[in-house]
Subunit: 553 residues, 2 copies
């Protein structure tokens, strides 16, 4: 069977009017954005009728072979509805920048997609544009403050607030601004990040309501004054303006899957320098509207799930019920040492080696007191012997595992997985505990994650990081930690696949995200502004005279 392209499948889908999707959820008022998208009012957070169970979808450490986490999240949502349960999918919003660069959307794929993918992958309802605008308004206010007399005595060498664009644009990473003489301000070094790396994105995704959003915005540290004291948004008096610019972006977006399963798509912070999950408001709202919420976190379980469980759930106030860990035969073989061009050849030995990576993530999930189900996302060249090897391992280690074929078959291909998830939730009630408490020191929190989640023997702090640890304000010690580490390995070396042993984690630097209320812990270099490839995906994109989208994946 040949599966058409994602855009072809999406364009041929029969979408329900978004008002019908809303009616199905007994939502009385929506703000439609065209026929197939809507904003949901924040009033839905009040007097919620349901307390849906949260199913988190995460994955093994990503490889170039692909895992299909979003596809599986959408497919599981569809499958749950297929077996008679009521489920909502809660996803992150795609970033437009990478869409222009690398082929591959963020709406799932095959017969497990959220639609209209042409809109969701581009401007959608404008949330990312609002965040870009709020972020850059703050940047303009900062440089204007310095230019107009600098009452706050901001040290222009210590302004930490850069600018952002939702674009892959390497030329903007390191720039000098304010050139051209006094009427253009003072020259200083700065740069642009991609919008999803903005602290405002993280803040929007962790805020519980408009008031909390405004408060968190006010606490953002934009830089330091000449006495090395932090200068915040509240010092600049623009938390009101920023909250105003975000008033609509704070409302979650309702769309649907190819099988008309409701999908709430809202927020999408980076999974390295931020926490990589859709918004707290969206997940909470979804839980109030349905019996099950299937949601995902960025990268592998060592980054995305860890942050979902330690950071997001604290703001969310709902304990998750189960974690699905997505793996593929191909990716496990890569973790076992197979090169990308040899993935089509059966190799049970390498697979068995690579399973060590999956095994670690199962242990991690269990260390949070949560049941785990492994979902094997089926690919064409998987052999029976390879699949059997995974099931053998699972049986020997008492791990729940199911095969899923949601890319080719939609919800139908996820029936076994959906049934298993429901059964596991019933048979293994979660006893959820976070890995650290707010009262532990930042150093302790980092060490706990490194040892428990990564399997490291310890943490080495650079002289800079040690100094920063000493100088943390007491209220910042209560923050969560947000690890910025390579997604490709459990260690901080992207080349160490599988399950590395006997390694330490090197912490280079800390950064305070006081609005998000976490300390970003940098291990190695973290890229916050991607570049475009030699042949950007944009070159294939087009639109015909009737407005039909061409070449978008």
């Amino acid at each position: 069977m040949t599966i058409p392209s994602d855009i072809r499948i999406a364009q041929e889908a029969t979408l329900l009017p978004i008002s019908d999707i809303a009616n199905g959820l007994e939502i009385e008022t929506i703000e439609p954005y065209g026929d197939n998208k809507a904003k949901l009012p924040l009033s839905l957070l009040e007097n919620q009728k349901k307390q849906g169970k949260i199913i988190l979808v995460t994955a093994i450490n990503p490889t170039p072979a692909g895992e299909g986490k979003s596809t599986l999240t959408v497919g599981l949502g569809q499958a749950l509805n297929k077996i008679g349960e009521q489920a909502i999918v809660a996803l992150r919003e795609p970033s437009l920048g990478p869409t222009m660069g690398v082929k591959g959307g963020a709406c799932g794929g095959g017969y497990s997609q959220v639609v209209p993918m042409e809109d969701i992958n581009l401007h959608f309802t404008g949330d990312l544009h609002a965040i870009t605008t709020a972020h850059n308004a703050l940047a303009a206010i900062i440089d204007n403050h310095i230019h107009q007399g600098n009452d706050l005595q901001l040290d222009s060498r210590k302004v930490q607030w850069k600018r952002v664009l939702d674009m892959n644009d390497r030329a903007l990473r390191d720039i000098v601004i304010g050139l051209g003489g006094p009427i253009n301000g003072s020259p200083r070094e700065s740069g642009f990040d991609i919008t999803v790396a903005s602290e405002i994105m993280a803040v929007l995704c962790l805020a519980s309501d408009l008031k909390d959003l405004r408060h968190r915005l006010s606490e953002i540290v934009v830089g330091y004054n000449t006495d090395s004291e932090p200068v915040t948004v509240s010092d600049l008096k623009v938390e009101g303006a920023l909250a105003l610019l975000l008033k609509d972006a704070l409302k979650p977006n309702l769309v649907q899957t190819l099988e008309n399963t409701p999908a709430i798509i809202h927020g999408g912070p980076f999974a390295n320098i931020a926490h990589g999950c859709n918004s707290v408001i969206a997940t909470k709202m979804a839980a109030g509207l349905s019996d099950y919420v299937v949601t995902e976190a960025g990268f592998g379980a060592d980054l995305g799930a860890e942050k979902f469980l330690n950071i997001k759930t604290r703001a969310l106030g709902i304990d998750p019920s189960l974690v699905v860990i997505v793996a593929t035969v191909r990716a496990l073989k890569m973790h076992g040492g197979v090169a990308k061009d040899a993935l089509k050849t059966e190799n049970v030995e390498a697979l068995n080696q690579g399973i060590a990576n999956l095994e670690k993530h199962v242990e991690t999930v269990r260390s949070f007191g949560l049941p785990a189900v492994v979902a094997i996302n089926k690919f064409t060249h998987d052999t029976d012997a390879e699949i059997q090897a995974i099931f053998d391992w699972a049986q020997a280690n008492d791990v729940a595992v199911e095969l899923a074929d949601v890319w080719a078959n939609g919800g139908e291909g996820g029936r076994d997985l959906a049934n298993r998830v429901i059964r596991e939730i019933g048979e293994h009630p979660a006893t959820f505990t976070r890995l650290y408490t707010p009262e532990q020191t930042i150093r302790e929190k980092i060490t706990t994650i490194a040892k428990t989640v990564y399997g490291a023997t310890g943490v080495e702090f650079s002289p800079v990081a040690k100094k920063q640890l000493k100088e943390l304000r007491p209220d910042w010690e209560l923050f969560d930690v947000c690890m910025a580490k390579t997604q490709y390995s459990l260690s901080d070396d992207p080349k160490e696949l599988g399950r590395p042993k006997d390694f330490t984690i090197s912490v280079r630097e800390l950064r305070v995200s006081a609005g998000a209320k976490f300390i970003v812990v940098l291990t190695g270099n973290v890229m916050t502004m991607p570049g475009l490839p030699k042949e950007p995906a944009a070159l294939k994109m087009d639109i015909d005279q009737e407005g039909k989208v061409i070449g978008l994946f």
Copy 2:
């Protein structure tokens, strides 16, 4: 009588559901954006039932005293409906950048506003964000092309395509990008303009349909190669991607006035380096839906109306029927030499001197074969003697003039003006001719405008401009000219108020906007990225817990 603030009036207005406004215009399908905004489908341009008459609202040269052109445009639209005619208002979209900076919106004022002004003044339906994105995607593609081998041999010193943000941010005017080593590209000088200065904004506003938009995008010149040949978007192969990014932005937006008069708000190019009018598509669509379209052009008649009549109408394909020229007693007194702090004092002599400015604009309008009506926008401190002086001048010179009080009284305050406009259209059918033909040289076109519209004795071209005139490609000679001149004076010296005599216009430089199909003619320095004032308006903005907007004007 005390008039409440604009935002107070707007928030207390009774808006009709936008579907009701659409129904009133017999529009069958809209794309709602919430309850009070909608995108109109481009299919409305086909088989249009009506051929509405176009009424252009322009003004004398702007002064710090204010003219209230947008207010009058909205008010006249309301007034026409009040006297039993069917009229639509067609306006430009406000730019968010200045909204953050200087108090004062772009939605009209008092009881003549378009609503919901909180949305229209901020993100609206995302059109400007889409333009920002398309513009910056092209910029990223350019720098990526150079970085990845530069097959087109773009001369990085001659890249003319800057980046844009819808923000007032002086620190971004002159920057150096690509610093930080080879992985970040090559260092070069560049900068940011405000989004409304993007050629893509001009292109979007002049395009007749999606196909024309795509074609115009392909023709945009981004810079020159090492042989000094122009490099276009089509050379970079991204006209399809850019058109795709603009697919929704190309659709006009339907809103309403405080009195539920339909308003189509779409596009807003700068009125100096671009043509300063709302989109051709919006105006054409409005003409197909109503008997009268009241629309405006930027700055005074020497810039906005000249460009509307010479540039926009060529793309529009509809001749306008009448031009309203807005003036105020206050502004005329400033043109007569009165300082801003002395405007409350009666001064008939200064007023009579300042009328010379108005008189020139009446002559200009008539030189296009169009009837003119002067609208005196009433202010509190205007005295009877001052008003009478204007009427005396009008009678002596056979000029139609009416007093309008639409700020304080809405449509009711514009009845006389509305009646007069209808009468003049009936009694003085337009014999519209543009001031130049495409076949005239660019030099001739510039000289014609300088002499006929500004009243200059001639034009002086700088050595650079002379060289550029010589090097123009033959197909570019057929373009229109888009004059970038100070808006404050008929001359190119902003201090020369009233009606300057015996002056020449100095042309410094030409720039090719091949997508917009005009040659920008720069006289003096033109600011394309504004800055923020010492106390930006953003500092007063806020939103309360219930989502009510505070401090937006």
